[in-house]
Symmetry: C2
């Protein structure tokens, strides 16, 4: 996904730095700033190990010159509804719906965030093809800028959890067999043994053992059986 982040008139350097950091956390790199506050000490501190993103920031004076650079323009808003300009914010997509919408698109995507107190100016909302809004509490819907960027980066990132090998059926069967041997050590009537075996199988079945856990568990059960014999 070829996605750049645009902050329109950010007021606080700390937010710029935090945005840079979370972009790097999720594998994004290009940050545009429209008429921003100066990138000073606080921005540098909050960016932490994402100094390179701050170093490569592109600053422009007006949002118009940026709007034309993207194939899809996505506007973010924390205000949804009730106002007379409701129609320019509706219908909106959630971050997850946005991810689905952008998944198979080829083209340069610009994700626009407004300034901390006002949000995006109406002229930007009107230019953008897509409106996105994070579903929040009616009691306090307005989020911190850097936190809302974090949620968008999280949703739009292509980074996936690394694969963990789960135990195979064969590895699980060894465990069930050993558990069953241990159940037989107890002086239970036959029907109670069956029930206990089934319960143990259910418990270990739903815990989704990893291959590593299954290996360690099988070894421990084996040692236990040998000790009991």
């Amino acid at each position: 996904m070829d996605l750049d982040v645009v902050l329109v008139e950010p007021k606080f350097g700390g937010n710029i730095g935090s945005v840079a950091r979370v972009m790097k956390n999720f594998g994004f790199s290009d940050l545009f700033l429209v008429n921003p506050t100066e990138i000073g000490e606080e921005a540098r501190a909050m960016a932490s190990n994402a100094q390179n993103i701050l170093d490569n920031v592109v600053e422009v004076d007006s949002v118009e010159e940026l709007l034309v650079q993207f194939d899809y323009r996505v506007a973010t808003t924390g205000i949804r509804g009730e106002t007379s300009d409701r129609h320019i914010r509706m219908p909106y997509f959630t971050p997850r719906e946005l991810k689905d919408k952008l998944r198979d698109k080829i083209g340069k995507i610009g994700l626009f965030f407004g300034r901390e107190d006002y949000g995006l100016p109406n002229k930007v909302l009107k230019e953008c093809e897509i409106i996105v809004s994070i579903p929040t509490s009616d009691e306090y819907p307005i989020m911190n800028l850097a936190q809302s960027v974090a949620i968008l980066m999280y949703e739009l990132s292509e980074i996936e959890k690394e694969e963990i090998r789960l135990a195979s059926q064969k590895e699980l069967d060894i465990i069930y067999e050993r558990l069953s041997k241990l159940v037989n050590h107890i002086d239970y009537p036959e029907h109670k043994r069956e029930k206990t075996n089934l319960m143990l199988k259910r418990i270990f079945g739903r815990s989704e053992l990893t291959a590593r856990e299954a290996h360690t568990l099988a070894g421990w059960l084996k040692a236990l059986i040998e000790e009991k014999s």
Copy 2:
């Protein structure tokens, strides 16, 4: 979902305030702090309209007394893998997987976050039933505390997008019929008219018109037809 947030030894007041704000954004309210920095001016500023959450914070000296208060303890970690204590962080769930796991649970859930530089101490990781980690870039996996809380709050929140009424099939049929009338105004051969009608139906079909948009669009098309006649 009865979920409380626990910050273990947070170093920066700004983070405590930002965490309070995002909790309120997503409808959560109970914040526990273990041996935190003082809640001062920066925390108050970053909390913005979530002062009530800061006012009701519960501070404790040791994490042990908190761990026993919850039915499910969830530990967060930004470090996944490679280290010798890998097993205490594995297997982990993503925030989305955690949501699925907690969905049908009844009980008090504690979501534990570690301090900005170290993360959670191993003793907490060992006590918790569930480990959660946000999939991030290998190049820079460690997130800002308040941003990682934001992503968990977003995923675990029960708040959903308000419903938007989409146009009904009947409302869409009026639009297609009027578009078709306009196509007939052009001097096209019959097969080209058919193709154009189909294309227009496809375009408006996939744009998922809201009822409001359909109403406005139908009115505009009607005016256009009357003007052309």
